[in-house]
């Protein structure tokens, strides 16, 4: 009986082979694929570098600023960087079209730079990174993020205390 049912199903539904590469392939919505990095949202906390087991993410101090590098040919697509990033500056997309000729292997990288800037309050040299939003109530607005970006860590702390006197984050 079962085989008849199977026979009928195969007759009515056609082959179960997916058409790819001659047609589009279905992608599960939560597939962990190519990494996307959003530089303006990055706080430079380096949590992603800490949790990346194969060392696919690297931060280097350069004279111009903090350089971010990520290489897909070392990444194991575990999703930890996405999970631990406080601002979703690093996320995993569902793009799995990563096959490439070896000549292009070093193009499979993301290279960005968080530049140095002068603190707008005291003039110290500081990184123009986004402020860390963890535990900040009410959440930062877009203008505030831009304003905090140009403050050094000390001045950020002062500005945060002035902003929410009762909710000053504890050390």
């Amino acid at each position: 009986m079962n085989i008849l049912k199977l026979f009928y199903r195969n007759l009515t539904q056609g082959p179960s082979t997916v058409a790819f590469p001659f047609g589009p392939a279905w992608t599960p919505p939560k597939l962990r694929g190519r990494i996307r990095f959003d530089l303006p949202a990055c706080t430079g906390c380096r949590a992603c570098e800490q949790v990346c087991a194969p060392g696919a993410i690297r931060f280097d101090k350069t004279p111009e600023g903090l350089r971010f590098m990520m290489w897909h040919n070392s990444c194991v697509f575990c999703g930890l960087c996405n999970f631990y990033c406080p601002t979703d500056a690093i996320v995993q997309s569902d793009d799995w079209h990563l096959a490439h000729p070896t000549a292009r292997m070093y193009e499979m990288a993301i290279r960005e730079l968080i530049p140095y800037t002068a603190c707008s309050a005291c003039g110290t040299k500081t990184l123009a990174s986004a402020p860390n939003p963890v535990g900040v109530e009410p959440p930062f607005s877009a203008e505030e993020i831009e304003q905090f970006r140009h403050l050094c860590p000390g001045c950020r702390k002062k500005a945060l205390e002035e902003r929410t006197p009762n909710h000053a984050p504890t050390e």
Partner: protein, 150 residues
């Protein structure tokens, strides 16, 4: 006569590129990528044989080589010996991040990563493991390279 041989060779090349034989080398992989390679070939849902390729059991018959694993110190000599037995022209596909950079085993004392210091690799398919469709994409790219090389 020479023209006849030329036509014959051209015809043989045209037919050959439609049916490459695939050989798989496990260079110390965790088996994740091997399972995906087997899935790509054996499960009707993916069916890499639609591209005209077939897995073969002997390195001497192979045209396209799929390599998985980070090239562990213990397996290195055997892999190099088997790889040398594969006739030219061959196209090498690195399946998974292990053969490309060493992946998760990158810093280990027990692996000789990256593999391309010993074996010329033509196509990379990153993933840990890559999904079957990504492997098919890599094989399609390898067939194109093989066609040009033949």
């Amino acid at each position: 006569m020479t023209r006849f041989i030329q036509t014959l060779t051209d015809q043989a090349k045209r037919l050959a590129t439609r049916s490459p034989w695939i050989y798989r080398i496990n260079a110390g992989s965790c088996n994740g990528c091997d399972v995906e390679c087997a899935t790509t070939a054996c499960i009707p849902r993916y069916d890499v044989e639609r591209l005209g390729c077939q897995y073969c059991g002997s390195p001497r018959h192979a045209d396209i080589v799929l390599i998985t694993g980070p090239l562990t110190a213990r397996i290195k000599d055997d892999v190099l010996r088997v790889f040398a037995e594969i006739p030219e022209p061959k196209v090498t596909v690195a399946v998974g991040v292990c053969p490309i950079s060493g992946g998760i085993f990158r810093e280990s004392y027990a692996v000789h990563a990256p593999m391309n210091q010993f074996i010329p690799i033509d196509v990379n398919v990153p993933g840990c493991p890559p999904r079957p469709q990504a492997i098919i994409e890599g094989v399609a790219e390898a067939i194109a390279i093989w066609r040009a090389r033949l």
